[in-house]
């Protein structure tokens, strides 16, 4: 099988999902990696450049990370080329003349095995493909984004005050999320300090983003982000079904809640029945201690 991986960078570094895909593609067959170079992602110029590359190389499979931009680019590319499309897959194997993928459906409430006819475009969820430590960066061919076909005008970038220096939520190996139990945005330093001690990203429940305590981009759950980190820590989150849909595929789940009957404990590997305001500072210190010894 011939596979084309579409690379994505954060800053100057290739995203981890690109490395995951390059490794997976190698395992599946004849793999190459391409990066579309442009000032910033925009669908028409990127699709145009990539479609031309795909038509020239005719790979059986185009693989992209299921990132914000990857999912958009993949969908429009598949439509342009009339290829089959599967988004956000968490497992992938060749099966006869087609592809068999695993993907969550119904907001993570169901896992499906899906046959995808070739040629296809597939996006994979960051963190879902195994990646060995110290794997060498793949060779990346560069193509220019086709700015001549642009119909949009970029106006500005409006930065939000928070975040920025932390790892992005969707790709983080450790996520610490806060819920209504934190009682207010002024207490978020508790969540942030623990996230920093763990080297993780910060998330929030929908109640918290709806109340405007935290930006929407931090929301974990059905109408927010779905995360699959190695460690998910839920602080003061009751565990509504919509929140659980976004995080139950995490490898290890820790929940801290005052209410011993909170639904979050039903999915937790480690549940701590305690007041977050008493427990979290002590836990942050304990994490620092075990990580330094």
């Amino acid at each position: 099988m011939k596979i084309l991986v579409v690379a994505e960078r954060k800053g100057t570094e290739l995203r981890r999902v690109t490395l995951e895909l390059a490794a997976k593609a190698k395992e599946l067959g004849d793999a190459s990696v391409v990066e579309i170079v442009g000032e910033r992602y925009s669908p028409l110029p990127f699709v145009s450049a990539l479609a031309r590359k795909v038509e020239a190389d005719s790979p059986d499979l185009v693989l992209l990370g299921a990132t914000l931009n990857g999912r958009d680019l993949g969908a429009r590319l598949a439509a342009r080329l009339g290829r089959a499309y599967a988004a956000d897959v968490t497992g992938l194997q060749a099966s006869g003349g087609s592809l068999e993928v695993e993907r969550p459906m119904y907001a993570g409430k169901v896992r499906a095995k899906v046959r995808v006819p070739l040629p296809a475009v597939v996006t994979t969820r960051p963190g879902s493909m195994p990646l060995k430590n110290g794997v060498a960066a793949p060779e990346v061919a560069k193509i220019e984004s086709d700015t001549a076909v642009e119909k949009l005008t970029f106006v500005k970038f409006a930065a939000v005050a928070s975040g920025g220096k932390r790892v992005s939520l969707a790709e983080a190996r450790i996520v610490v999320s806060g819920g209504r139990g934190l009682k207010g945005p002024e207490n978020w330093s508790l969540v942030e300090q623990l996230a920093d001690a763990l080297g993780g990203a910060v998330g929030a429940s929908r109640a918290v983003t709806d109340a405007g305590w935290r930006p929407n981009e931090e929301q974990v759950g059905q109408t927010g982000k779905t995360v699959t980190p190695d460690l998910y820590v839920a602080l003061g989150i009751s565990g509504a079904i919509q929140h659980l849909a976004g995080m139950t595929s995490s490898k290890v789940i820790v929940a801290v809640n005052k209410d011993p009957d909170a639904d979050i404990f039903k999915v937790a590997d480690y549940g701590v029945v305690a007041d977050v305001f008493e427990f979290v500072p002590a836990f942050t210190e304990a994490v620092k201690k075990v990580r330094s010894t």
């Binding site: 988004a87 993570g108 590997d269 994490v287």
Partner: protein
């Protein structure tokens, strides 16, 4: 300005989804159906435009089985002006669905099409960008705000660390991640008015769209692996519990 929202009826987000007897679809008996959450955000975004400028016309359309009429009725009750349904008892191939919607768009001539970023059943997120592609329109994905601007519309897109603001000429399409406010509930007068409104109806076959196209095929479904049986730590002073947990995460779970 005319805004068209293609919507999909899906199991309500509070439904505990179960796998059906065939092992490759969900059990639908007795479940509550609703407008897909991101489509609801798209409707709310359009209605916020209408609040600001009452000359705005908000239309909704769906391609789906007859039960989807209820979702359109719900949208009308929220305050949408027009609704139409294309009856398709069997799911069309994804690209055929985009082609069918493109026909509706060409007839209805909206200035702006707002699609939810993905339907919360298949979670593919294909139809929005595919519809823009079939129409040959530009699109902006996963927006949280749409503001009319001189000769076009400014579309705010949430990215890591902030928002990108793009200006699109009209007509344009955007997929919606969130609206500024939570989707409104239908008001009682809204529900009464919605009952009287006509929902235009036709069959998928009347659109003369080829229903074929490359389509993923679900082979099997299963619930996510059960979790639980976790360790519960309680009844100790916070410092002791914290040390116990940190040690367990390092030595047992091996995630630190």
């Amino acid at each position: 300005m005319k805004i068209l929202i293609p919507l999909k009826q899906v199991p309500d987000s509070t439904v505990r989804v179960k796998v059906g007897a065939d092992g490759k679809s969900i059990a639908t008996e007795g479940i509550t159906w609703s407008i897909s959450p991101y489509d609801e955000y798209a409707i709310e975004m359009a209605l916020e435009r209408k609040d600001a400028d009452p000359s705005t016309v908000v239309a909704v359309v769906t391609v789906g089985p007859a039960r989807s009429r209820d979702a359109l009725r719900q949208a009308l009750a929220m305050g949408c002006d027009e609704a139409s349904i294309v009856i398709a008892d069997q799911a069309a191939a994804p690209l055929a669905l985009a082609r069918a919607l493109a026909k509706v768009v060409e007839e209805s001539k909206p200035d702006l099409v707002l699609c939810g970023k993905q339907a919360s059943d298949d979670d593919q997120g294909f139809v929005g960008p595919a519809l823009a592609e079939v129409l040959g329109w530009p699109h902006v994905a996963t927006i949280t705000k749409a503001v009319p601007a001189d000769g076009g519309v400014e579309l705010w897109r949430e990215v890591e660390g902030g928002h990108e603001v793009w200006k699109a000429p009209l007509p344009a399409l955007a997929t919606v991640h969130k609206s500024e406010k939570e989707p409104r509930y239908p008001s009682l007068p809204g529900i009464m008015k919605a009952k009287k409104k006509e929902i235009a109806e036709r069959a998928f076959s009347d659109l003369a769209v080829d229903p074929a196209g490359p389509a993923p095929e679900v082979l099997s479904m299963e619930p996510p692996p059960a979790r639980g049986g976790g360790k519960i730590l309680k009844d100790g002073d916070p410092k002791h519990l914290a040390e116990q947990l940190a040690t367990a995460l390092r030595d047992e779970a091996k995630v630190l």
